[in-house]
């Protein structure tokens, strides 16, 4: 199967602390992959390495056949854990911003989604609640017709109704040839939508397999496996 992301012996150290250790992965196109692990396991480190926000200590990483750089940023749509949108802008200015920089940004799709959530184009971002800002950010990210979506904890810290909306938005807005890597520790909420799962613990890869294979081989749900693997 055609790969969208490949990494070989990818390692990241923060001083003497190991963030990610010798990770080797091959992510195919057209899959929804759960990047699972407890807090501090290296999920965000891996995603940041893929976006170029961190520079690896060693190893190689390519997306769409390109090393991390301008070419990969054109095809990767990234939703960070934090709110990154410019507070001084209005919603319509953020749409213009994304249109200016991303050729794959579908502004009509973004407008439709904003309208469905009754978020006005003239609304100021600084006056919005944290939850509304996160929704605007998700809409911007999912309105890109990217090859790879990197979603870092998209359902962490939001209410159950918002979680349903976020999952629905993710499922209905990504391209079929594209892949989604979705990091979370809330497995039960997303297990049903995952094709594959990557489990990491203290920076080390524990498991990478299809969710069906995991269920068949281990005889338990992904959520149960996670609880067993990472119990304190």
């Amino acid at each position: 199967m055609d790969s969208i992301l490949q990494c070989q012996n990818l390692t990241k150290h923060y001083g003497s602390t190991c963030g990610l250790n010798d990770l080797t992965l091959d992510i195919p196109r057209g899959r929804i992959i759960g990047l699972l692990g407890p807090n501090g396991s290296g999920k965000t480190t891996f995603i940041k390495l893929c976006t170029g926000l961190l520079v690896p200590t060693s190893g190689t990483l390519t997306i769409g056949g390109h090393p991390i750089g301008t070419e990969t940023k054109k095809i990767v749509s990234y939703l960070p854990e934090h709110t990154y949108i410019n507070n001084w802008m209005r919603v319509k200015e953020m749409l213009e911003f994304f249109s200016d920089f991303y050729k794959d940004f579908n502004v009509d799709k973004a407008r439709d989604m904003l309208q469905n959530l009754q978020i006005g184009l003239d609304d100021k971002l600084k006056n919005m609640s944290k939850g509304t800002k996160e929704k605007v950010q998700l809409i911007l990210v999912m309105s890109r017709e990217a090859d790879l979506y990197l979603l870092d904890e998209p359902i962490g810290g939001v209410d159950p109704a918002a979680r349903d909306y976020i999952i629905k938005t993710i499922l209905t807005n990504y391209q079929e040839k594209a892949s989604i890597i979705l990091s979370t520790h809330l497995i039960s909420e997303i297990e049903s939508i995952l094709d594959e799962a990557i489990l990491i613990k203290q920076g080390n890869l524990i498991l990478h397999d299809s969710v069906d294979e995991i269920r068949e081989k281990k005889g338990v749900s992904l959520d149960a496996l996670f609880r067993e693997e990472f119990k304190c």
Binding site: T51, T70, Y84
Partner: protein, 232 residues
């Protein structure tokens, strides 16, 4: 992409400096009004405020430029900035050009309002300037043009060196995860001393050394942001 980056730099900085520019113009106009109403005491107070605002424009231009660099690169906004499909040198260049533009705007506006004040107090000042255009020879014209170009280039280099030493210092500070502000200040003094020694050792004129120093500070900033970026 440089044009798009430049557009958002201008928007971001302009909205922060606009109140200072408006205050500068307002106080220059108030001085004229109070002078015409023959209210010397109030005019003196207005002139005092005018001088304070001139100082504020100078200081806040530097503060806004520095804050824009820091927040757009190293705060949560950095998650968006560094995932845009643009080259790092384009990010730095767009900031530098916008910063130079506002440094010049502040200077020109200050000069214009002070000149306006002089003309208000003493309208004869204009008629006093009687330039003997008829006696200007082509050699004089060439000298005048050369001196004017040297003045503009000198001012531009002075501002660019000041801005780039700040960019390089903030970037060096970012290399320390725990003491970034202290390291940024230490880097500033270190680079300043280096600049002095470099100029002395090189022994070339100001126009050459400032250009070389600009190049060195730009390369330091570009290297750190391209190869040592670690957004926490």
């Amino acid at each position: 992409m440089l044009i798009h980056l430049f557009k958002y730099e201008i928007k971001s900085i302009f909205r922060q400096l606009l109140p200072f520019y408006a205050a500068l113009i307002l106080f220059a106009l108030l001085e004229k009004v109070f002078y015409m109403l023959q209210m010397p005491t109030i005019m003196s107070f207005t002139a005092l405020f005018h001088i304070l605002i001139i100082a504020a424009v100078m200081v806040f231009t530097l503060v806004v430029i520095t804050r824009r660099f820091y927040s757009n690169f190293f705060s949560n906004e950095g998650y968006l900035t560094f995932t845009l499909p643009v080259k790092t040198w384009e990010l730095i260049t767009s900031k530098l050009i916008a910063a130079l533009l506002f440094a010049f705007t502040g200077m020109l506006l200050t000069f214009a309002t002070v000149f306006f004040l002089f003309v208000t107090i003493n309208p004869d000042i204009l008629s006093g300037i009687q330039f003997p255009f008829s006696t200007i020879t082509p050699d004089d014209m060439l000298n005048l043009t050369t001196h004017f170009a040297a003045f503009i280039y000198g001012t531009l280099m002075y501002d660019a060196t000041a801005i780039l030493i700040i960019y390089a210092s903030v970037s060096i500070g970012h290399l320390s995860r725990e003491h970034s502000i202290f390291c940024a200040f230490a880097a500033f003094f270190g680079l300043f001393i280096f600049g002095q020694i470099f100029s002395f050792v090189l022994g070339a004129n100001y126009y050459v050394t400032s250009l070389l120093l600009c190049g060195i500070f730009f390369i330091i900033t570009n290297y750190i942001l391209s190869h040592r970026l670690n957004l926490a």
